[in-house]
Structures are given as structure tokens and as C-alpha cells.
Amino acid sequence: MRGLDPRELLFRGFVTIAAMAVVVILLLMVVELTHTAWPAIDKFGLKFIWSTEWNPPKERFGALPFIAGTLVTSLLALVVGTVIGVGAALFLVEFAPPYVRVPVSYMVELLAAIPSVVYGLWGVFVLGPWIQKTSGPFILDYFSWMPFVKGPALAVGVLAAVLILTIMILPTIIAISRDVIIAVPRSQREGILALGATRWEMIRIAVLPYARSGVLGAAILGLARAIGETLAVALVIGNSTNVPDSIFSPAYTMASVIANQFREVENSTHEAALIYIGLLLLLITLLVNAIARALVWRVTRGQITTVVE
């Protein structure tokens, strides 16, 4: 500690305040949300989480339709998005020649810069009609024996929201996975290839286990974006407070109900209930992050962590 230089002290002070500010802002938000949501917390308690009734004029509120809608759409988007995203990242790193890799990587990053309302409008005008007229009837013809697949195929609903979210989280997953996969040491690949492994075996044995934690981290970042996405989802999910029973059912998410109803609330309880949902959304995000950390920790125990973690 030679820290007598005033510039040094000033700099240390600045970075400390910057770091603390994040913590303070988060804490203040939790306090304020809890405070304004208190009438609803007091009235409905934890029952709010599993009650399905959302009836503003009768002042009866339950968040299950929104929690279910948020989790179902985000998790499905996460599964589809991770499979496609990691696949794309592997292709870019392991198979693509530079004249493909560079422009494709560039386009992936461009995809991340498109505002979410544009995705939403594309969902309304292109994806929705496609689901209703083409893919929906096809799925209903061949897969209606599966659970949660029943008609009619509407232009909006769970499936449309899942597809939009998948496309929206892809750039995050591809970009991070690609960086993580690139970071796998060359010597490790060469070693396994020298033992006579095929390229697929090399990926399976040498690359993926090494990149696991980073890929998980990428997926979690994608999930966080999917959970919080508001506008694009509100445009394509159909905004129905009934719990969905099919991939074609209209549903609702926590973020979109707040966006839709906050402007014209029915009464003060309605307002408090919407803020209560906001608080739950924050808690769910925290929980998802905690689970992600735990997973990453379990996976990487005894391993060298990669650049991202």
C-alpha cells in the first residue's frame, strides 16, 4: 500500500463508488418495489404466486398465468436457442473457412443490435401468418398426438413468442459460445487428434467439456434476456390471462402485463398487484442467476475456468 498519491486515492474512491452504486441501486429498487407493492403483498400474500385469477374490477389478483407464460416461453426459447446457438458457434470455430466465419460472425452481432419492437413487428406481420397458415396446420396434422399440441393455430400465441425469443437470444448465445470455444487450447485439440480421434470426437471429448461453463453462462445470459423481454412478446403472445394448455394458446408474460396495464389501472390494488409482479420478476431473475451460478460451479469444480467465467 503505497497509496499516498492523491490521484491514486481519487481513482480508488471512484471505482469503489461505481461498484457500490450498482448494489445501492438494486437494493433501493427492491425496497421501493416492496413498498409500493405492499398493499397487494399484504392482501394476497404468497397465494398470489399460484392463484390464477386476474380480475382488476373485483380486486382479485393472482400471478400464475403470467409466471407460467414467462417460464414456458423463456425456457423453451432457451432450449431451442442453445441447441442452435452452440451448433452455430461450433460451425464457425471448427468448420467454417475464414471467408465464411468473418461475415457470419459480423451478421450475428448485427442481429443483436436490432431493436426488439422490430422483432415484434416482424412477428406480427411475417411469423404470425406463417404459423397460422403454414407451420401451424402442418404441426396439427402430424403432431396432435403430443401433449400440449392442439388447435386452432392462431397467428399469436406461445409458439410465436418462443420463436421470436429464440431469434432474439441467439446472437448472445452464439457470440459468447464462439469466444469460449475459440479459447479452448490448441494443444488440447491437437492432442486428441493425435490419438486418432475424428473431428466429431474431438469436439465431444476435447472442446465441449472444456467450454461447458462458458456455454452455460451464455445460455443463462440468453435466458435473462428472454425473461425480461417485453415489447416483442406483448405483440405476439396473444395477451390472455388464461393459463396456456397448448403451444398455440394465447398466453401472457410478467413483463408484458405490466407494460399493457400499468397506464390505465383500475384501482390502487391493481397498481400494487402489477408492481408485485415486477418484484416477482426481479426475484425470478435472481433465482435463475443463482441456479446458473450453482450449475457453473458444479460443472467447473476442479477445472480451469474459461475466459468468460
Binding site: P57, G238, N239, N260
Partner: protein
């Protein structure tokens, strides 16, 4: 909202160049087309007192001071004040037009800043007295009125909610009664060829397809009027979802705003949704004829909407519902939209500017209503509002506007 405003600009330019000729021509066309579509015989329309009242109301709009008051409609020409208002989005195009017309042609010193933040926000802001006037589509509830002591509702124009639809093979206007609409929105009628719908639409081939029900996802005055109507015509609706800006919908999918609803209706075959009359006029959407209390199927129009407020008893505070009007030829899903102001005004100059502006709005301002798709106030309501403005709004103990 944006393309709406674009349309207004075009409409406005046309109107300005064509002037009075265009106005009277439009009024004439609107009158004649609706009376032929309404199935209301022209002869009886001319003889029933209610219809007489509307034609008088149309005339009232062109002559200042309909109720026989001696105050000219441009009484505020010497006023100078900056007024702020906030509230309902539904009348925004009309209010924007009014305020700019008023500044341009009557009182160059009166500037109005109106923020369309929604009825709920308007009520909140006038309650907290952060604006000079509020605006709301739904009248304030008793609870809200008790928090804003001395508030006065002033109806400015009328709007209607239109049932629009997209049914395979149906090209003529669909006919529906209130009970059927309630059952569709309750999920009790699920097929288009249900006997209840087919019975009212003889000669129309209805598909045996599921009805896709579309409603608003955002809290809205339009939803309030629609559910208010359903509560009036269906006991089951009243006991169930009830009258609300945000009811719990038993079935259907939600679209945001009129745009969202009409988009869902256009996209999903065999669907039905509800939007404002103004919006259907701009977008040429199909509109169902609704059976009113006197048994006629009425096409939604500015005339049939005005009729809904004609010949009904209106309380002094105007907090009333005019849905399911008993007047012959009245479109049943109609409502007032209000400006909210305090009876006892603190700032005398602002008070005078505001009341003078409202005075102009209920007289000359009514001319622009039909042009933009709103319905003018009937003559008897104009006379009532005249009385309210000249006696109830006071500043420093004396009426702001003296007859």
C-alpha cells in the same frame, strides 16, 4: 397513433381548401347514407322527435349558441392564457384539431398543451391539480369524485364502439344483438353457425368455424364502454366480468390499442373484435349492425351515435351511461367523452380562457366532429352544457361566463 395523425393532416388540408361546401356535403352524405343503411325509414326518422333532435343538433353545430343563449361562440377572442390538460387518448385527434383551430381563428392568445396519457392518468392529474383540465372517456367513479371535491364533468363529443369481424365468405354486414355479443365474449357461443347468430342473419352462409374472440390487452375507455354495454344487456356478463377498463376476459386474445385489435381480427380468420368508430372509419373495417332497444339493427355512424344521447335523461353532473339507448335509431354502444375541470377556479384569467374555449367547443367546435369520425352532441345536451358553463363554473364567487 402516428398514421392516425397523418390521416388527420390530409383530412384537414382537404377540409381547409374545400371549406364550408365540403363540410355541408359531408354532413349530408353521412345523414343520407346512414338513414338508408339503418333500416330506419326516412319518413319515420323525420317525424320521430329524437331524429328531429339530431338534425337540429347538426344545425346547432353551424349556428352559435344553440340553446338560445346570447353569448357568441367566439366570446373568448381577447383571452390570453397557457392551458395544460391531460387524459384520454380517444378524443386526442379532435382536441388537437380544436385547440389549433381555436388559436388560429378565435383567440390567438390561448395556447393549450394537451397530453394524451390515458383517462386514468387524466383523472389522477386533475385530482392532484397538476393540470388545468383533465379528460376521460369513462365518468369518474364515486370514489374518484370524493377525492376531487368540486369536479365538473363536461361532455365534449360522443364516440361509439364498433364490432368488427373477419368471417370466411361473409361480405354483407353482420347483424348481432347484445345478448349474442355477450355470449360470444363469455365463451358460451363458440361457432359462427350457432343458431343465435344464424337466426339473426338469414341468407348469410356462416361457417361452422370456431370464433376467435379479440379484445384489448391494455386498459382502455373503449373497453369500459363495451363492457358497460354488455353489463346492460346481459345479466350473466354483469355478474361475471362486469364493467371495467381491465375486465377478466373468459376467452380470447388481446391486442394492444385499436391497431392491435384490428390487426388480430384481420390476421385470424373467423374472428371478432371491438374498436372505436373513428378507427373503423379511417381503416374501412367491416362493422356489424347492432340491435338496439327499440328492436332495429343499427349501423354505427356519427348520426346514430348522436341519437344515443338524445331523448335520454342526463343528470346535472353528466356522469351517466348512454349505452343501450331507448331512442329510435340510436346506436347502442355509444358514450360521451368528458373534459374535467373544477367548479371553483383559482386563476380567473385561466378560468375564463378555459370556459370560453369550452363554449366555443360545444358550438363551433361541433362542426369538426363528424369530419373526424366523432359524433356531435345533440341539441339538448348542448343546452345543458351551456347552463353548466354559465352558472356552475365560478371564480372568486362569480360565474366565469355571464349570459
Amino acid at each position: 397513433m402516428n398514421d392516425k395523425q397523418g390521416t388527420w393532416k390530409v383530412v384537414r388540408r382537404v377540409a381547409l381548401t374545400a371549406g364550408v361546401v365540403a363540410l355541408s356535403a359531408m354532413a349530408f352524405v353521412a345523414c343520407s347514407s346512414s338513414s338508408s343503411k339503418d333500416k330506419t325509414p326516412t319518413k319515420s326518422a323525420a317525424t320521430t322527435p329524437a331524429a328531429g333532435a339530431t338534425s337540429a343538433a347538426t344545425k346547432a353545430a353551424t349556428t352559435p349558441a344553440a340553446g338560445g343563449s346570447s353569448i357568441p361562440s367566439n366570446v373568448g377572442k381577447a383571452d390570453s392564457a397557457k392551458l395544460t390538460g391531460a387524459g384520454a387518448t380517444f378524443p386526442t385527434p379532435l382536441y388537437t384539431r380544436w385547440f389549433s383551430d381555436y388559436k388560429a381563428s378565435v383567440a390567438s392568445g390561448v395556447e393549450v398543451n394537451y397530453q394524451s396519457i390515458g383517462s386514468g392518468g387524466g383523472i389522477k392529474q386533475i385530482t392532484e391539480k397538476t393540470v388545468d383540465f383533465g379528460a376521460s372517456d369513462a365518468p369518474m367513479s364515486d370514489d374518484e369524485v370524493s377525492k376531487a371535491a368540486g369536479i365538473q364533468h363536461v361532455p365534449t363529443t360522443l364516440g361509439a364502439v364498433v364490432m368488427t369481424y373477419n368471417i370466411d365468405g361473409v361480405t354483407t354486414a353482420l347483424k348481432l344483438d347484445g345478448d349474442t355479443i355477450a355470449k360470444i365474449y363469455l365463451g358460451k357461443i363458440t361457432k359462427w353457425n350457432d343458431a343465435a347468430i344464424a337466426g339473426q342473419n338469414a341468407g348469410v352462409t356462416l361457417p361452422s368455424a370456431d370464433i376467435v374472440v379479440v379484445h384489448r390487452s391494455d386498459g382502455s375507455g373503449t373497453t369500459f364502454v363495451f363492457t358497460d354495454y354488455l353489463s346492460h344487456v346481459s345479466a350473466e356478463w354483469k355478474a361475471g366480468p362486469g364493467t371495467s377498463k381491465n375486465p377478466q376476459w373468459p376467452v380470447g386474445l388481446g391486442g394492444q390499442g385499436n391497431e392491435g385489435v384490428s390487426q388480430q381480427v384481420k390476421q385470424n380468420k373467423n374472428s371478432i373484435g371491438y374498436v372505436e368508430l373513428v378507427y373503423t372509419k379511417q381503416n374501412n373495417l367491416p362493422a356489424a349492425q347492432i340491435k338496439n332497444k327499440s328492436g332495429d339493427y343499427v349501423t354505427p355512424s356519427t348520426d346514430s351515435t348522436s341519437l344515443a344521447a338524445s331523448g335520454v335523461t342526463i343528470p346535472a353532473d353528466y356522469r351517466t351511461s348512454i349505452v343501450d339507448s331507448a331512442t329510435k335509431g340510436a346506436y347502442p354502444i355509444s358514450s360521451f367523452t368528458y373534459i374535467l375541470l373544477y367548479k371553483d377556479q383559482k386563476d380567473a384569467a385561466k378560468a375564463k380562457a378555459l370556459v370560453d374555449l369550452l363554449w366555443w367547443a360545444i358550438h363551433d367546435g361541433q362542426k369538426t366532429t363528424t369530419e373526424l369520425g366523432y359524433a356531435p352532441l345533440p341539441k339538448e345536451v348542448v343546452a345543458m352544457v351551456e347552463k353548466t358553463l354559465t352558472t356552475d363554473i365560478v371564480s372568486g364567487g362569480a360565474p366565469v361566463l355571464k349570459p
